[in-house]
């Protein structure tokens, strides 16, 4: 589904991603871990099309070249990014925001706008899925939300937009254990054989709830080790030092 080949990205002349390769198949969950500053969030932003980066390499989603597309077109193709720091849009209600998003994505796919009745029905269903307080849906997008509410709202939006590829950028940070469980439940329920999820996280904790098929370690702009969920446990125990020592000098064989 998602194929990344030799991806380089730099901002203001600083190279952050240095030839990253990754393949994610439909139905899979991949976790990307790694120390601070290794390029995890940059990877998420570059896939979504954030305009701050100079990018080279190949990123395709179901064969379509994403790097050629504007961010809203990538969203139309089914890319969703749950932001690490969700943005506030004062005065724009969540409902209105989502209605615009749902219908714009439908328009991209050549579909007519969704009937108001169907939209409301979906809204209620998905709201229940992430146990989002009804009051929050009518409030302005993320305005005055707590950290946990913002993250839950991201998963709610994801549920509404039903993406092919969801990237969760440190969605677990700032969540208490109950919120974590709710968010993870939401993600698990949305999982299907047709979509894929990339989870970017610092902690093994989230992976107790969302079990990944693969775990990758990102370091200095490249994936330096890949494995199964056991790798996450190992990292939790040993940290990253045993992997990162000497990476700069020696070529590490990376399977992905």
């Amino acid at each position: 589904m998602l194929r990344i080949k030799n991806l380089h990205a730099s901002v203001d002349g600083n190279e952050i991603l240095k030839g990253l390769n990754l393949e994610v198949k439909a139905g899979e969950v991949h976790a990307i871990m790694g120390p601070n500053g290794s390029g995890k969030s940059t990877l998420a932003s570059v896939i979504a099309g954030k305009p701050d980066y100079e990018v080279s390499g190949d990123v395709t989603l179901n064969g379509k070249d994403l790097l050629d597309l504007a961010p809203e077109e990538r969203a139309g193709e089914g890319v969703f990014l749950a932001f690490q720091y969700p943005v506030e849009i004062p005065g724009v209600s969540n409902v209105n925001f989502l209605k615009t998003a749902v219908n714009d994505i439908r328009a991209y796919k050549g579909l007519p706008p969704m009937a108001a009745k169907d939209f409301l029905k979906m809204l209620k269903e998905k709201q229940a899925l992430v146990e989002l307080d009804k009051k929050l849906t009518s409030r302005s997008v993320n305005e005055g939300f707590s950290g946990g509410e913002k993250k839950r709202n991201e998963i709610f939006q994801m549920a509404m937009l039903n993406p092919k590829l969801a990237i969760l950028d440190e969605t677990d940070s700032g969540l208490d254990i109950d919120a974590l469980r709710i968010v993870a439940n939401g993600v698990n329920k949305l999982k299907s054989a047709d979509n894929a999820t990339i989870i970017i996280t610092h902690y093994q904790r989230l992976l107790d709830y969302i079990v990944p098929d693969y775990v990758h370690v990102l370091y200095d702009g490249k994936i330096i080790k890949s494995g199964t969920k056991e790798l996450a446990l190992e990292l939790e125990e040993k940290g990253y030092d045993w992997l990162t020592k000497g990476v700069e000098s020696s070529e590490l064989k990376v399977k992905s």
């Binding site: 305009p51 050629d68 139309g76 943005v87 724009v92 615009t100 714009d104 937009l161």
Partner: protein, 482 residues
């Protein structure tokens, strides 16, 4: 890639075009160009006015001659040549109009282009419309329905003929002709406008609405509106304005007077999209308006304005809170683009005890425009326990425009509570990207964000016009991102 930059946004905003730029080919009857006592006499006689009104006009004219054009506003424009303006232009009707079917078909077509088909309005919405084209009120709908409640609503000239005593009693009491340069000019040469009287205890059951439109080239439009809400009454009034696209600047100097007697309430909403000039700043309306309301005991006046048009806007809808416990409100969204300049705000004059005022002003500046808020909150000696809350926000697009805030606060009573908040922000690239990531393109994202920003004010508009205002905001900032 659809990378969003301020430059692109600016380009996009420059290329927007004025949607209402067409000229209707209707024969008009014009007075000779220029201003003199003779012209004033001509206007007065054309309108078959009583002697006292002609005298009023002439007094105003001689006062105006001694006055000087104000220069304190944060706007720049070439001096207006008052002798190069037609002061009277009336569409020539073939005969007296009894029903809408008889209205000139070209006129009706124009209304349709403006999106205000009267038939539609009559059928669908509960709105009485008084249409002022250039200087004569063409047709008023719903007059009969209103008459049953004792409500007088129609053109100013008609009121002069039918209710001269009411007009004489109230006209010029809130905005005297000595008030300022443009008010004096208006008093001398005003041609028409709306008049509204709500009797004691009557709640007007529908929104009263007037559309103004300047059609004839080089004609000044000087409308005069007077709304009198008698004790315990209520009315909501909406004024909408458009002007066709022309190269010469056209002058618009209106006077609006509101009187809310004890326990009365007036809601006055304006949607203004006079022609703003082209993207190089050529042409456009000069809009110099004096709007003021008087609140007696427990009365309330609420001004709501959505200003997207005019090359120059000079406008300060104000409240004189004379009666104890009276309330004044001012809600404003002013959008300037290209080379538009707006200097707008309000004055809240607290005279009575326990008087309250709220000011919410939202400016949006784009292109090379200049957008200023200018407001005065004055708490006089006797205004015990007066309260004011002001919030002035500015939203900037690009880096060639300007937003300015000039708040004046004068407090002569220690018990007063006056709060002032101000913010200036830019539409954040992170907000745009967030919307993009959800599938919303940059143009729609800007509309969404601007409408959200202006929501507190748009919410104050009557329902049916809030939608129109939202569309107008979108049109004002329209274009496509490359």
């Amino acid at each position: 890639m659809g990378k969003y930059t301020e430059d692109e946004l600016e380009k996009e905003l420059e290329t927007q075009e004025y949607k209402y730029g067409f000229v209707t080919d209707i024969e008009t009857e014009k007075a000779p160009i220029g201003l003199s006592e003779d012209i004033i006499r001509l206007i007065s006689s054309k309108k078959n006015e009583p002697e006292w009104l002609l005298e009023y006009r002439l007094k105003a004219y001689s006062a105006w001659l001694k006055m000087e054009e104000p220069t304190w506003a944060h706007v720049n424009y070439p001096k207006v040549d008052f002798q190069d303006i037609y002061y009277y232009a009336a569409p020539k009707p073939k005969k007296q109009l009894d029903s809408l079917d008889e209205v000139d078909s070209e006129l009706l077509e124009m209304y349709e282009k403006l999106g205000i088909s009267i038939d539609e309005q009559k059928k669908l919405s509960n709105v009485a419309v008084d249409i002022v084209m250039d200087s004569v009120s063409v047709k008023t709908t719903f007059q009969d329905t209103l008459a049953k409640l004792g409500i007088i609503f129609g053109s100013f000239s008609e009121a002069v003929q039918k209710h001269p005593d009411l007009v004489k009693k109230y006209m010029g009491t809130i905005v005297p002709y000595t008030d300022n340069y443009y008010a004096a000019l208006n008093a001398a040469v005003f041609t028409d406008g709306s008049f509204c009287y709500i009797p004691k205890g009557v709640r007007c059951p529908m929104e009263l609405s007037t559309y103004f439109r300047i059609n004839e080239a080089q004609t000044g439009q000087f409308e005069r509106t007077l709304v009198v809400a008698d004790k315990g009454s209520y009315c909501s009034y909406l004024e909408g304005c458009t002007a066709p696209q022309r190269d010469e600047n056209q002058l618009h100097a209106a006077v609006v007077e509101l009187i809310a007697m004890d326990d009365a309430e007036i809601k006055y909403s304006t949607v203004q999209n006079w022609y703003p000039g082209d993207k190089n700043g050529k042409g456009g309306i000069y809009n110099f308006v004096t709007k003021r309301g008087l609140c007696e005991k427990n009365a309330k006046i609420s001004w709501t304005q959505v200003e997207t048009g005019s090359a120059i806007t000079w406008k300060y809808p104000s409240c004189i809170l004379k009666g104890d416990n009276s309330v004044g409100e001012f809600y404003s969204v002013a959008v300037t683009n290209n080379y538009q300049q707006a200097d707008t705000g309000t004055k809240m004059l607290h005279l009575g005890k326990n008087t309250k005022s709220t000011i919410i002003s939202k400016g949006v500046s784009a292109g090379h425009s200049q957008n200023s808020y200018r407001g005065l909150v004055k708490i006089s000696k006797n205004a015990t326990n007066a309260r004011n809350f002001s919030q002035c926000d500015s939203l900037l697009m690009g880096n060639k425009c300007g937003a300015h805030t000039f708040p004046y606060i004068e407090v002569d009573n220690k018990s007063a509570k006056v709060e002032h908040e101000a913010t200036t922000s830019k539409i954040g690239e992170d907000q745009i990207f967030y919307c993009n990531q959800r599938g919303i393109d940059t143009e729609s994202a800007i509309k969404l964000i601007v409408n959200g920003y202006a929501k507190d004010v748009l919410n104050k508009l009557p329902m049916e016009f809030a939608v129109e205002a939202q569309k107008l905001l979108a049109i004002s900032l329209e274009g496509s991102v490359g």
